[in-house]
């Protein structure tokens, strides 16, 4: 258990280092001059050569690659991700200010996926090759095939414009959350459903399910207690990898719905070539990913008594 944790932490640090280095490398060789873009954006005028020089000097943009990289890493170890070229605020603060909105969206979408995907996956597994199972299979394939940005727009069209039930932009009330949440949840629900079904089918064939039947337990107990408890173990691992999906989806969904989270901020920063923000984002995504997978490992140990036991000895 402790070994696992240490292993995870070491690889976490590696992930972060590689992520930051890659993004740095990329930005250094980027064409175009960000200073020019940004000054133009701020003042609305074409900047003079001197203005650009000044801007670059102020933001240390004219030092050699290695110096900039080391400088950045040094600041990083002090919890500083630099300053946004666009807003002049520290990157970390920009992110923390927006993180709540993304977190809200991601958790809501994940919860919705679990609430819908889990039971449907279980039902499909208890009646394999039934009509229900086939329908679910087709629906879930369709679910992973719809592009999120288009689905979001179609939902807006339907529920905001045609029916007028829900607002299409903005953030704040639960009603604002509904459409982005559904958009983000569809793909995850579909893949979760499939994983649960496969995992359940495997478990339902095992010996201890026959024992449970021989004990005269009700079907409900056999499926939802005996089988599901074991089938969830691989599903939890999958949920960890789905977080990558979730984050990527959040970037697109936030952009479509103008949801004021880190995803939209990221895309806006890409448009503005706001390098420190892009670098910071890569790092933060990597950190979130690593953290979630650590949580998944812990949950895994909690769910599977066999791992728990090995960990103790």
């Amino acid at each position: 258990m402790r070994r696992l944790l240490i292993q995870r932490l070491v690889s976490a640090v590696f992930v972060m280092l590689i992520a930051s280095f890659l993004s740095f490398l990329l930005l250094f060789y980027a064409p175009g001059n960000p200073a020019e873009t940004i000054i133009r954006q701020q003042s609305g005028l074409d900047p003079t050569y001197a203005e650009i020089e000044l801007f670059m000097k102020r933001h240390d943009l004219n030092r050699p690659f290695l110096v900039q990289c080391l400088q950045w890493l040094y600041l990083l170890t002090h919890g500083k991700l630099g300053v946004s070229l666009r807003t002049g605020e520290p990157v970390l603060e920009e992110f923390t200010a927006r993180f709540g909105a993304t977190f809200q969206l991601a958790v809501a979408a994940m919860a919705l996926s679990v609430i819908i995907g889990l039971p449907i996956g279980v039902f499909a597994a208890t009646k394999p090759n039934s009509l229900f199972d086939h329908i679910i299979r087709v629906v879930s394939l369709a679910g992973v095939s719809i592009p999120e940005f288009w689905l979001g727009l179609m939902l807006m069209l339907c529920f905001s414009l045609a029916l007028g039930w829900l607002p299409c932009f903005g953030h704040g009330t639960v009603r604002h959350l509904v459409l982005p949440m559904i958009t983000l949840a569809v793909g995850i629900t579909a893949s979760l459903m499939r994983f649960v079904r496969t995992s359940m089918l495997e478990v339902l064939n095992l010996d201890y399910i026959k024992t449970a039947k021989a004990k005269g337990l009700r079907e409900v107990v056999i499926v939802w207690k005996h089988a599901l408890k074991n089938a969830l173990i691989p599903v939890v691992t999958i949920l960890g990898t789905q977080v990558g999906h979730l984050l990527a989806g959040a970037v697109i969904v936030e952009t479509v719905f103008s949801w004021p989270g880190i995803g939209k901020f990221f895309v806006d920063s890409i448009y503005a070539r706001d390098y420190p923000v892009i670098q910071g984002f890569v790092l933060i995504i990597a950190a979130i990913y690593v953290l979630v997978n650590l949580l998944v490992d812990i949950l895994y140990v909690y769910l599977d008594p066999r791992v728990r036991y090995e960990g103790r000895s």
Binding site: A19, L141, W150, L153, A248, I252
Partner: protein, 279 residues
């Protein structure tokens, strides 16, 4: 159970193949199928609803949407196939090297692969395109940057399992060179499971390309690429929704057909090969 899966797999395989064949035909015969030039701007005919003359209506510049959707097949399919082929070859090569030689090389490659696997694909792609600027080359580069990783992993697993079988030893004993053995024995055997992976990957790639283009970071606007069409049409969504419907349906349907094919292939594949896929 297995038999049932095979029959079901065959059905999906058939449906998927027919749909893909249809898309391929659209791509190849686009100039004959499309009633109008996809780039023909007619301001007086802008934003016409679907009707007799324009099956799917016209867009903000008065271009025929149906013709643009038909030509768009070329971009989506072609780009996706290019990206997947590069990834497949790259992954197969690197994975074979790792699995075949083992030892330190294997260790090093797999460490890097494990770390890269952990990173959300599209976000790095966004960064790359966002920084290097939107163009088709950069789009491909962005999707290859992390795309090869999955294939490397599966190829390595396959190579390891193939290596255990006798005939590699026999080929070696007969004096085959390493390169010869990799080319002649390992790669042909690793191919079927990789094909399934690739088919499923095509659908992912179509989605990624569309998403990047939609964000304005992929294929650029006047090109009749589906994502770019949606990006252009976005402003009319509340006034003229027909502009948004057909390109989106085209993306969904093409992705679905590759997913059907991939799933079908997976079901039909023998269970041993399927196991490798779940590595």
């Amino acid at each position: 159970m297995y038999i049932l899966e095979v029959t079901r797999g065959k059905k999906m395989l058939l449906t998927g193949s027919i749909l893909i064949f249809g898309f391929m035909a659209l791509a190849v015969f686009a100039p004959f199928i499309a009633p109008y030039d996809p780039d023909d701007v007619k301001v007086e005919e802008r934003l016409l609803p679907p009707g007799e003359h324009h099956l799917m209506g016209t867009d903000g510049f008065g271009r025929d949407i149906f013709s643009r959707v038909v030509f768009g097949t070329r971009y989506s399919l072609f780009l996706a196939l290019v990206v997947v082929s590069i990834n497949l070859l790259l992954g197969l090569m690197i994975g074979s090297i790792a699995g075949y030689f083992g030892g330190l090389i294997d260790e090093l490659i797999m460490r890097i692969v494990d770390i890269l696997l952990a990173f959300p694909n599209i976000i790095l792609a966004l960064c790359i395109v966002g920084v290097l600027g939107p163009s088709v080359q950069n789009l491909i580069l962005a999707l290859v940057a992390l795309g090869w990783v999955g294939y490397t992993r599966v190829s390595r697993g396959l190579v390891l399992s193939i290596k255990e079988q006798g005939f590699i030893g026999a080929a070696k004993a007969l004096g085959g060179s390493n390169m010869y053995i990799i080319m002649r024995h390992i790669i042909p055997n690793a191919f079927p499971p990789l094909l399934v992976l690739a088919t499923l990957h095509v659908s992912h790639t179509i989605l990624s390309i569309a998403a990047l283009s939609f964000l304005g970071l992929g294929v650029q606007a006047p090109t009749p690429e589906w994502g770019a069409m949606l990006s252009e049409g976005k402003q009319f969504i509340f006034t003229h929704p027909h502009v948004m419907i057909s390109p989106g349906l085209a993306i969904t349907l093409s992705v679905l057909s590759f997913n059907l094919l991939g799933e079908g292939l997976r079901d039909v594949l023998d269970p041993r090969a399927r196991e490798v896929l779940n590595v």
